[in-house]
């Protein structure tokens, strides 16, 4: 199946660097602003993860929670999220967009209806934090039928046996959670250890792209640049919060953060 996610990894590899993935919450702090942020960072980011804000997140740290509550408070709905993606895709159709969120939101929307909407608005991948393997098998198949990647999460607690099974069923991109943490935790293990776990995953099937996320900031990103891709989320959400506090423009400030991140991995 064709998916621009593959092209993004290919391009990064040609430039001998990891792909840069950003995570921002749809509707943070307003619908328009979150769209403007996507447009401005798309020059430097290779893949855009867009968070679907949920009010009982079980895996998010305080930065992303703050962003999510802010977006919900400002009235973001699932249909608005699709609209943001669609509007962004009109601006840059080749840039891959991944939606990330919790299962209840798409369960209420209806799995099929949700996937139809993903397709018409140009979503290329999905990360559903609380729909692990094997529970996600059926849904992942539905995604595949729509040429949307269902991205499997892998964790340091995932046993080797389980890793093999998940990777066998997985689509061309997987997501390795660097450490035992919610999003935005301080990196509490060495990058050496993270990479050693990462290579264990890569060894199982080297063809599948694996990105590393959780705890990645401007300070830590360079040390992990051997990975296929690196995700920065909380550091960006934090920048939005700080910008709002200082009455500065979050769009400019976030764009600068992403620029600096890109410089570090070039």
């Amino acid at each position: 199946m064709f998916n621009p996610i593959n092209a993004a990894f290919k391009k990064a590899k040609q430039e001998k660097r990891p792909a840069l993935l950003t995570y921002t919450v749809a509707g943070d702090s307003t619908k328009k602003q979150s769209l403007d942020i996507l447009k401005s960072i798309s020059k430097n980011a290779d893949i855009l993860e867009v968070g679907m804000p949920h009010n009982t997140p079980v895996a998010d740290g305080s930065q992303i929670q703050t962003s999510a509550y802010r977006a919900i408070k400002n009235g973001i709905k699932i249909n608005d999220i699709f609209k943001i993606v669609k509007d962004f895709k009109k601006f840059d159709n080749s840039k891959p967009v991944i939606l990330m969120g919790y299962y209840n939101m798409l369960f209420q929307y209806g799995e099929n209806e949700f996937l139809n909407k993903c397709q018409t608005s140009g979503v290329n991948g999905l990360i559903i934090v609380d729909l692990p393997w094997p529970e996600n098998k059926k849904f992942a198949k539905k995604c595949k039928n729509k040429s949307i990647y269902f991205i499997q999460l892998l964790s340091p607690t995932t046993t080797k046996e389980r890793l093999k099974k998940i990777i066998k069923d997985s689509h061309p991109m997987n997501y390795f959670i660097s450490m035992l943490s919610t999003t935005g935790g301080k990196l509490k293990v060495s990058s050496k250890e993270i990479l050693s776990n990462y290579y264990k995953i890569k060894k199982i099937n080297p063809k599948k792209n694996v990105v590393i996320g959780f705890g990645i900031t401007e300070k830590t990103i360079k040390s992990l640049k051997k990975a296929d891709g690196l995700v920065v989320g909380s550091a960006i959400c934090k920048e939005i919060t700080n910008s709002l506090k200082k009455r500065q423009n979050p769009v400019t400030n976030v764009n600068n953060v992403v620029k600096r991140l890109k410089m570090k991995i070039k």
Binding site: T56, V58, Y103, P132, Q152, L153, I177
Partner: protein, 411 residues
Amino acid sequence: MKIKKGIPVIDQGDKLGFWGGKFGGNFVPETLKKPIEDLENLFNKLKKNRKFIDERDMHFKNWIGTPTRFLKLENLTKHVGGAQIWSKVVSDANGGAHKIYNATVHCLLAKRSGKKVIIGDTGAGYAGKMLSMAAKKFGLKCKIFMGAKDIERQQPNVKAIKKNGAEVIPVYSGSQTLVDAVSECMRYWVANCDTTAMCVGSTVGPAVFVRICGWSTSQISRELKVQLIDEFGSIPKKLKLYNCVGGGSSSFGFWNEFMDYDKKQCEFIGVEAGGPAKSKKHAAPLTYGSKIGILHGAAQYVNQNTDGQIEETESISAGLDYPGISPLHCFLKDSKRARYTAASDEEALAAYKLVTKFEKLRPSLEPSHAFSVAIKESKKLSKDTIVVVNSCGDAYKDKGILEKKLGKKYV
């Protein structure tokens, strides 16, 4: 949807942990898959292990104090003038509520797994208080997550938790009540599951937590069965068991041993928190027909909007102030084994006034919800009907609210 006879309800889930094919399950981040599987294996092994059961029973007997009293509320019965009203005074248990059973079992499991720290959530503060007691007894370090709003309204329990040497971690996100405390506790576990055991304070959460809690609180109905036979010679022909339902741990435990009886003989009535009479908010997803959704790792009926955001609840009783409900109760509702209804804040307060006026019993605001419905329905029932209300908590923790709402003389 049907309940199977002869198999404990906690063991009637399918391979993925769903009761009735759709309630429960394990909607958890990948990081928790392994610790949950480890806990499942440990629990499945130990619940069949005679030595472990003996150990549990020894602590239940010598430390928690079994059995809790079963007594007839003579004056209340006379006043109401219908069915015989009895109470199972579970608040006799060490610590003052049923939460001690689950807390004790979780600490025993944590010890067996070699964990040194145990964490837990709390709403009314009972689950937290009991976990801190049990952790102290079994030599575990303990952290309790509690919504900031609940910390304010349940001070006596907060003080007790601290006195037991546990750390109270205030949760400021969302509605600052139980739902947020459970989320924060789960998040903490995600980040520390290699060294820390988690106790979910009710029959909610990923399937194994639902099962462990139900297994633990079933002590209540094991005792009641013996007490009923002692009192009446056999299980009464018309028996009605009333219990408040928040997450659902005390009610499930109160009913479990009677599951296989015909509901015409032994009826289960669950009373949810209807919230303030004039408010649209409530904590009664079963009564008011909430849709199935995912909350804290399990599929259940849950108060939510069309976008799948969990809605805020409102109830005078912190212990019932939860937007979801145990998958076990969803299963009991849809298989029609139990009947669910709600009582408002005002009705619960009125029932508290009535019970304390006639009896030497001080049910907390949670069981006062159950008393409200039991009293109302008892009026219309025959004198040979045995109504039993689980008085699963003591009102000491509610003294601030009771004083404010009813005046000093009711405290």
